[in-house]
Structures are given as structure tokens and as C-alpha cells.
């Protein structure tokens, strides 16, 4: 492009001055924004040159196409990319924050279990399925359940006749391992039910309480909650996505003060320990 003309510099200059005017109008700039406009124009020119235009006309067209809104969009995508390519210290911070946020999720699951859910009983006969309700006691020690007549969304604990102390619960099984699912063959229509079935085994595996969750969300909620009570890890998909949401927001908030500051790739060097610890200010009376 540069060697095809005589007065290359003047031509490029003309194109760029026109670009400056156009960008000035697009940005609705005033006198004090001169630097900002120059920055934008510099970006426009450098980006267009980076794509190696073959002639001045191509250069002119490209540079005019890259108007202010394009620049804004590019800046925004770059900002988002910056956040995604996480530097090592940020990844470290993520790992450290995970346990704290896991605690929140566990709390939420137990709260939902205390609210309880309405379940259906599977019956071999195709008539109206019976409904039963199950909820955890407020002190997390007993699981109450019982039959309910109509669609009662919040029966009081006293109405639920049966109960299982949480301490007696031995294990939680899901899917095919459930006692009430063992007879069912893996037909396609049963697959859905299999995905929503879980059982609580208690009293040395003699007894089991069989559930069929109304939705996948309830299934995740209950299996997570029961795992919390059993002291096991939560591993449902809901947990993973919720953890991700909480974690990314927390990281964003932590990095708020690091705006426009580059993060080094490697840990900065640690100087030798100072020769003395005679501090000026004495805070020993305030520290504990």
C-alpha cells in the first residue's frame, strides 16, 4: 500500500484527518475531550493497519467502517476476555473462596429441606396418585413425612405422622439402586422416573424411604440436602452452577479495586526479612 503512490504520507494524513472529524462528531466530544478522541483515532488507525490493507482505498474504507461504536464494542469484549483469562493469583483466590461459598449452598439446601416438598407415590394402578409431604425439622435432627389429602403446600409438622431421626439414616441411593426402582426395566419411559428417584436407607438397610422427585431441580435439592446431613460432598449439577454464579460475582467484587492495574504473571520477589521489628506504633492494646 505504501509503495504504490508518490505522496503516501499526505494521502494517509488526509484520510486520517477526515477520520478524526468523523469520530469527533460520533463521540459528541467537546474541547476537553481532545485526548480521548485522539486515543480512539489512534486505536482505529492501528487496528486497521494491523489488518494490512492492500491499497489506500481499502484502508480508507476499513478505517471508516471502524467507527466509535465498533471501538466501544471491541473494548467491552476485551474487558470481558481479560476477566476470563484468569491470572494465577486469581485462580488461587477462587480455590480459597470455594469452601466459604459451599457453606452458603449447604445452608440454602437445608433451609429448603426444612420448607419441604410434596411428593407422589407411585402406584401400580393408574388412578389418581397419592400425595405425601416430607420436610426436615427446624433443628435438622428429624425427617418428618406423611400423607396429605389435597395440594397442601405447607402442612405443619404436627400433621405429618411418621418420622425418621437423621442420626439413623445410613445412606442415600439414587436411580437404579433404589429399592423401588429395582423391578423397573430400563425402558425409555422409565428413564425419566429413574432420574428422579432416590431413597433413604435407615436402620441398617432394612428400611428405606422411597422418593420420586417432582422435578429435576427438586431431585438435586433433596439429594444435596441429604448429603449435607450425611456429611458427604454435594455433587449435583445445580450445586455446580450455583457455585459458579456465587464465585464469579465474589471474584468480580474482590477485583474491583484492581481496575486498570496489571496483574503480574509471577509472584513478585520477597525481600529479606527486616532486621528489626521495632515498630513506631504500638497496637498491642487493641489487638487480641
Amino acid at each position: 500500500m505504501f509503495f504504490a503512490q508518490d505522496k503516501v504520507f499526505e494521502e494517509v494524513f488526509c484520510i486520517c484527518i477526515q477520520l478524526l472529524n468523523k469520530t469527533w462528531k460520533e463521540m459528541r466530544a467537546t474541547q476537553e475531550d481532545f485526548d480521548k478522541v485522539m486515543q480512539v483515532v489512534r486505536e482505529q488507525i492501528t487496528r486497521t493497519l494491523a489488518s494490512k490493507p492492500t491499497s489506500l482505498d481499502v484502508f480508507r474504507n476499513k478505517v471508516n467502517a471502524m467507527n466509535y461504536s465498533e471501538i466501544l464494542k471491541l473494548r467491552q469484549t476485551e474487558r470481558m476476555h481479560q476477566e476470563e483469562t484468569l491470572a494465577p493469583p486469581v485462580l488461587e483466590l477462587r480455590e480459597r473462596l470455594k469452601p466459604e461459598l459451599m457453606e452458603l449452598i449447604k445452608q440454602q439446601r437445608l433451609n429448603r429441606l426444612c420448607d419441604g416438598t410434596l411428593f407422589r407415590k407411585i402406584s401400580s394402578r393408574r388412578r389418581q396418585d397419592k400425595l405425601w409431604y416430607c420436610r426436615l425439622s427446624p433443628n435438622h435432627k428429624v425427617l418428618h413425612y406423611g400423607d396429605v389429602e389435597e395440594r397442601d403446600d405447607n402442612p405443619a409438622i404436627e400433621l405429618l405422622q411418621e418420622k425418621i431421626p437423621v442420626a439413623d439414616i445410613k445412606a442415600l441411593v439414587t436411580g437404579k439402586d433404589c429399592p423401588h426402582m429395582k423391578e423397573k426395566s430400563t425402558l425409555k419411559q422409565n428413564r425419566e422416573v429413574l432420574d428422579l428417584a432416590f431413597s433413604v436407607l435407615y436402620d441398617a438397610e432394612d428400611y428405606s424411604l422411597n422418593f420420586i422427585a417432582p422435578t429435576k431441580y427438586d431431585f438435586c435439592l433433596w439429594t444435596d440436602g441429604l448429603n449435607v446431613l450425611l456429611g458427604k460432598e454435594l455433587n449435583s449439577e445445580q450445586t455446580k452452577s450455583e457455585l459458579e454464579i456465587l464465585l464469579s460475582m465474589e471474584i468480580k467484587l474482590r477485583l474491583l479495586d484492581l481496575e486498570n492495574i496489571p496483574i503480574p504473571d509471577a509472584a513478585p520477589p520477597i525481600p529479606n526479612a527486616p532486621s528489626n521489628y521495632n515498630f513506631c506504633y504500638d497496637y498491642s492494646h487493641t489487638e487480641h
Binding site: 463521540m27 459528541r28 466530544a29 467537546t30 476537553e32 475531550d33 480521548k36 478522541v37 486515543q39 480512539v40 473494548r75 467491552q76 474487558r79 493469583p89 486469581v90 488461587e92 483466590l93 480459597r96 452458603l104 445452608q107 440454602q108 433451609n111 429448603r112 420448607d115 450455583e242 454464579i245 456465587l246 460475582m249 465474589e250 468480580k252 467484587l253 474482590r254 477485583l255 474491583l256 479495586d257 484492581l258 481496575e259 486498570n260 492495574i261 496483574i263 503480574p264 509472584a267 513478585p268 520477589p269 520477597i270 525481600p271 529479606n272 526479612a273 527486616p274 532486621s275 528489626n276 521489628y277 521495632n278 515498630f279 513506631c280 506504633y281 497496637y283 487493641t286 489487638e287 487480641h288
Partner: protein, 387 residues
Amino acid sequence: MTRWIPSKKEKYGVAIYNYDSREEVELPLQIGDTVHILETCEGWYRGYTHRRKAKKGIFPASYIQLKEATVEGKGQHETVIPNELPLVQEVTTTLREWSSIWRQLYVNDNKEMFSRIRHMMYDLIEWRSQILSGTLPQDELKELKQKVTAKIDYGNRILDLDLVVRDEDGNILDPDQTSTISLFRAHEMALKRIEERIEEEKSQKHNIDINRQAKFAVTPSFSLFVTLKNVVCKIGEDAEVLMSLYDPIMSKFISENYLVRWASSGLPKDIDRLNNLKAVFTDLGSKDLKREKISFVCQIVRVGRMELKDNNTKKFTTGLRRPFGVAVMDVTDIITGKVDDEDKQHFIPFQPVAGENDFLQTVINKVIAAKEVNHKGQVWQPELQVP
């Protein structure tokens, strides 16, 4: 050996890397922590993080990026305020305040507020970055500031937090410098503005109705375009097919009939118009659209003998119009625009008259009332569109 001296110019900074303390006297840092620096010696700082003000310790200077700040107070009890745009600072503190409430919303399973606040927080973070990048011209900056303050005020309101009273530029009013009366007036105005915003958001939930009403306001009359594709029905004689719109609640027809003559061979009499049987029911006004139910009714009238079973060819009476049957379809959804129905073909089941003395009207009523029509495989095939 150098002494620890109180830092003069280095007062405030932010940690750019995680620092794990190895000794008791060292302060562990997490990336992004802001620190207040008290004294310095040999490349180490002594201070505390704003997250945990009580614990003081030393940390390497290389882990800190210094920032501009103003210092208030002296000596042991000085406090540090970073030198940023007041709006940016407000956004930062608001975000941190909201985040603890947001977590509580999660634990209490308040899904709707949780996701609303989440989106608002993300918007605020994005706008804050834009302001801090320093690349926005003045006009845009002003607009953005207004957007930010509106969002903050709205969020504070729906989270039941304190109302922040601002002046026209969006700066927080200083109670020491404004008179009580102007403070009160500003307070009133701010409340009103936020109430309006909340009303707007609530009405956006009934968005469909408003959109529809707006649509109706613009076009005062509508039309329904019907194409009749086929009548699959064993009649045995010539017939007339009448199509019209009917209001079942008020039990009356609201349009004229579209008549198609159908030959006994099973094709329309006018063979050239075989694929061209179209009609437009025009001039449907807003009153029609407000009707609870609108049905599209096709009546078939057999033209010919008195009774179909009559086989005595000599004693024919011809040209008599006898009711044959009815096909009814509920088009309320199509007319009100809820169902987008371009190019969709409908099959309407057909209900014949019960006996020779039955009126078509009663059959219509029966079909409308019945939920399941026993149609014995005879169908209509029109195609409906509302432009």
C-alpha cells in the same frame, strides 16, 4: 540498621498478588485487598487490610500497587480515603453492601430478587469499569452517571435500604451545606422518581397486555384472512359452505357469511377456484377483540332432496336447503394475536346434524359447549391469518 519510619507518601495501596504469611508478624494478603500503610522499612510495609482492620502485620512492598489517597487524622489514628471519583466510590461501597444482602437472598431461596439484583450488580460493575477507563467523552460520562445513580437508587429501594438524596448532577447532598427545606424537597422528588420507576417495572410484567393495547391503538380495525383448502366430507349432494365468525358468549354471528358452493363430487363447483378459495373478514374493531371468545363457524347446507335417505328418484324435490352439519373452531387466540398463526393449516372436525329436524344453531351450541367432538373423521381445512 534502618528503623521503621511512618510512611509519608505511601499510605494506600492494593495487593496485586496473594501473599501467604510465613511468620506470626506477617500479614497474609489476598489479591484485590486494599491496605492502609502505616510504616515502612527495607522494602517492607506495616499496615492492615480494610477487610480486617484489627489485625496488623508486615508485608512486602513489591506486592502492593500504591494508589492516591487523602489522609485524615494524625499518627496512630489516621484514616485513609482513596482519591477516586465520588461516584465510583459510591458504586464500590454500594456493591459491597448489596453483596451481603444478595447472599442472604440466596440462602433464603428468593430466586426472583436474587437474579434481579445479580443483573443490576453486573450492570453497575460494567459501568464502573467504563467510567474508570477514562475514555468516555463528557456527554457520555454524564449520561452514564445518571444511569448509574438511577440504578443505585432503584436497587436501594427494592432492597429496603436507605434512600440517598441527590441533587441534579447526581452528587449526594451534603446535609451540612444544604438548607433543611431544600433537603426536604429533594427528598420528596427522589421518592417520587423512584416510585415511578417501580410502577414502570411492575407494568412491564403485564407487558403483553400493554403491547397489545398499544397495537390496538395504532390499528383500529383488523382483518382475518381465511383460505379454505378442502372439505373432506361425504355429503352425497351439492352443498353450500358458509363460513363466518361467531361470538358464543353472546350467541350471535359477528360477520357475514362467506359462501362457497361445493359440488357432490367433493370439489368446489367452480373448479378454477379450487386453490383460490380465500376470504378476508375485515373491519374487526377493538370491540370484537375484547370479546372473550370468538369462534370460526362453518355451516354446511345441503342443497337437494328433502331427506338424504330418500331413494325414490321420481318423487324428488330439488333445490331444498337442508342443514347438514357444522364445524366450529375457537379462534380467540389467533385474533388477539397471542398465537402467531401464519401459514398454519387447521383441521376442524365436523359435526353432522343429529336428526332431520335439528337446527344448525343448536348444533353450533352443542359443539361449542362440548369439549370433545366426536367427529368421525370428517374434517375441514381452512387456513387462517391475521395481518
